[in-house]
Symmetry: C2
């Protein structure tokens, strides 16, 4: 099954927003073995839209359209869709009621212009939108299903998962069932991973895909079987084999980020965390507090950018900085221990480094970073050199720190994995 | 002039990366009045690529292609381009030398596979790549220029500005010259801005566009004239009129983010800054330290997520928290003053609020936030309610704080502008 994704809106063609819907839809389609063959975008122009819809229905087996479902004059997708495939627009009473309800829940009256969103092509299957006003719809162009979804990412994402994917899977009924999972790993390069898993999923029942989203590497086992139960059983077996082989390198399944995993473990164990940051400049604390509810285990942090701040707020001895320099394992340890003591936390992470651009020396090149984790039984520290740009340098440093917390709570070793000793 | 943007790569169609190149290219084209009419993406499939190239050359006046210029087997753009428009590939000796030089500068030998990147279509104009190995090229399909650029955003962005835009402008020679600028504003809603500027740029020589990128509103005056000097003079006049009308609401021109503007002012005045964050959880410090060289004015910060941390690290009196609650103007002031004193900074910003989801009460609903700025002459504080999701709540809070620093350094009033008193 080959898909085309068509996104609609002048704002895309003016470059005002980066279109993330296409990547989301393509990734989700791949999970049920539907390959995206074409992506296109046109503005709010009826002729261009009609042309794009016809081409998509001709060359693809399924078409996903996003955008242009709003209530204003510019929102033409449903009109053009109906015209292109010779449908009339009919009022869908349940959708009108849902839109009125939506506004009632906000304590507002529905503007008359919103009634337009309840007019849908005759014969279309309506896809309810539980968190917005625009319902989606499914229209068949001959054999080809055309799914229309709103452009608002939150709404599109939910409707893709709840409305589109089950229907596409049902259309594949009788065909082989396909199921995929994502295992998230951190700490080993992609080629080493491939090598480590070379004998896994070799019987043809499951194929194993690899993908990098810096600084993580994702594994994507995909199973084909006659039934869902069979496909899931095959995935279970392969995921178990991968986890046995890789141990703590696998940190999560699906979309869960490392800060959420570390946070969950801290909460489960009733443990608390504090941070002391120099080169990461607040990013470590920001990542931790992105997780709603982080206040139950995260006490806080110090961003000690200036050396005087390292001394005054973390109690790092001036002569330690004088002897070793602020980018050194002893100073990272002192920062972590200072934060642990001052916040009264069970664990404290510290970072100090040269994220660049510039600032390096022969002895400590740009990209040098020292990380420390203070625990009740002592402080663990490591020194690394990552020749990366400023943004990725900070991001990798944060990921290592969060991973050390996770490994500590799992009782796994903190040894610096392959990735970290080499230029990435 | 109508443009088509064509991006190439299996990774796009698998949804592995979000394609930001399209938005970048479209925005840049618009600055010289070239409208993007179509955007498409295909995978590394020669037939799909050829089809997309032919269609683009037929329906657009200029085509920008990105991706597929690498050295590996998957990188087919140049091959397919040559075949589609009946060109031979010829070795471009200066490009081969440039690629060898590129590796030599890294202290490495060029792999033979990279030599492929110096083979370009006969008659193509070569577009040098100063920061990567893949040169770009310009091929004419009849009258239609087809520009091929690498997919690496950094390289593409630089080559767009240095190679593509000047050539497109030259092709427009004889036509009207077009120049546009971006003025960045923060603190007034889009409709209020439109109203405030309703009498500006009404003579037809300059058109004024509006655009929102949360939490900022951007103004985009665009001038058409017979010469560059004329267009620039018209823009100068309109920008001056806008700045006179809006005063400190305009914080920058072009791409400069607010943290860079505030940082520049701090550096110019030899002043220093510290922060104390609760609800923003490190984001404020992270934004400030995203700017390379921030260490010359940013001393550091405390992320005081727990109340005990507010007391221990910032000296906020326990009874102040008891009386007013941690989300209150008195506590925000005490946090800012504590940070200012402990870091020995000229200015200190503090944030404390309920970013949600949940955590609110009748008196202090979710979305409440208090912000304070401590200065030598006293501490300024404000309390706001922003019914936004967690991420945007934190982002808006940070922007207000940075704007207060900027306004203080400019001697502008800190009054809370319209946007901030209302639900956004």
């Amino acid at each position: 099954m080959k898909a085309e994704i068509l996104t609609i809106g002048d704002e895309l063609l003016r470059g005002e927003i980066i279109d993330s819907n296409k990547a989301f839809l393509a990734e989700r389609l791949l999970r049920i073995d539907v390959e995206t063959r074409f992506q296109s975008s046109v503005g709010d122009d009826p002729a261009d839209m009609e042309d794009a819809l016809r081409r998509a229905a001709r060359r693809a087996d399924v078409v996903l359209v996003s955008g242009g479902l709003g209530p204003t004059r510019d929102d033409l997708t449903i009109d053009v869709l109906a015209k292109t495939f010779d449908r009339k627009l009919v009022l869908h009473a349940p959708s009108l009621a849902a839109i009125r309800d939506f506004f009632a829940r906000l304590g507002r009256e529905m503007a008359e212009v919103n009634a337009k969103q309840a007019w849908l092509p005759d014969g279309a299957e309506v896809l309810p939108n539980p968190i917005g006003t625009a319902p989606g719809c499914l229209v068949l162009a001959g054999e080809v299903p055309i799914f229309c979804l709103p452009g608002v990412p939150r709404e599109l994402e939910r409707m893709m998962d709840e409305q589109v994917l089950p229907r596409l899977e049902a259309r594949q009924a009788g065909r082989t069932v396909v199921r995929a999972r994502i295992l998230r790993t951190f700490g080993m390069g992609e080629s080493n991973l491939e090598e480590a898993l070379s004998d896994i999923a070799q019987d043809g029942a499951v194929t194993l895909g690899f993908r990098t989203t810096f600084p993580d590497n994702l594994l994507r086992p995909l199973a084909r079987a006659a039934t869902v139960a069979d496909a899931e059983a095959r995935l279970d077996a392969v995921c178990t084999a991968i986890r046995e082989r890789l141990g703590a390198l696998v940190y999560a399944e699906g979309d869960e980020p490392l800060e959420a995993v570390a946070g969950r473990l801290l909460r489960e164990r009733g443990a608390t965390l504090a941070v002391a940051e120099s080169c990461t400049g607040g990013l470590l604390a920001e990542r931790i507090t992105r997780v709603a509810g982080a206040s139950s285990y995260f006490l806080g942090g110090v961003v000690a950018y200036a050396n005087t701040a390292k001394q005054a707020l973390l109690g790092v001895p001036a002569d330690l900085i004088g002897r070793h320099g602020s980018v050194s394992e002893p100073v990272a340890c002192a920062m972590a221990e200072g934060a642990r003591e001052r916040f009264g936390a069970d664990f404290a992470l510290a970072t100090t480094g040269i994220s660049g651009p510039g600032g390096g020396s022969a002895e400590k090149p740009t990209g040098t970073v020292c990380i420390a984790l203070a625990r009740a039984d002592g402080t663990h520290a490591g020194r690394f050199v990552f020749p990366l740009d400023r943004e990725r340098h900070r991001s990798l440093t944060v990921q290592i720190g969060l991973d050390w917390v996770r490994r500590t709570l799992l009782g796994a070793p903190l040894e610096a994995p392959t990735l970290m000793r080499r230029p990435a």
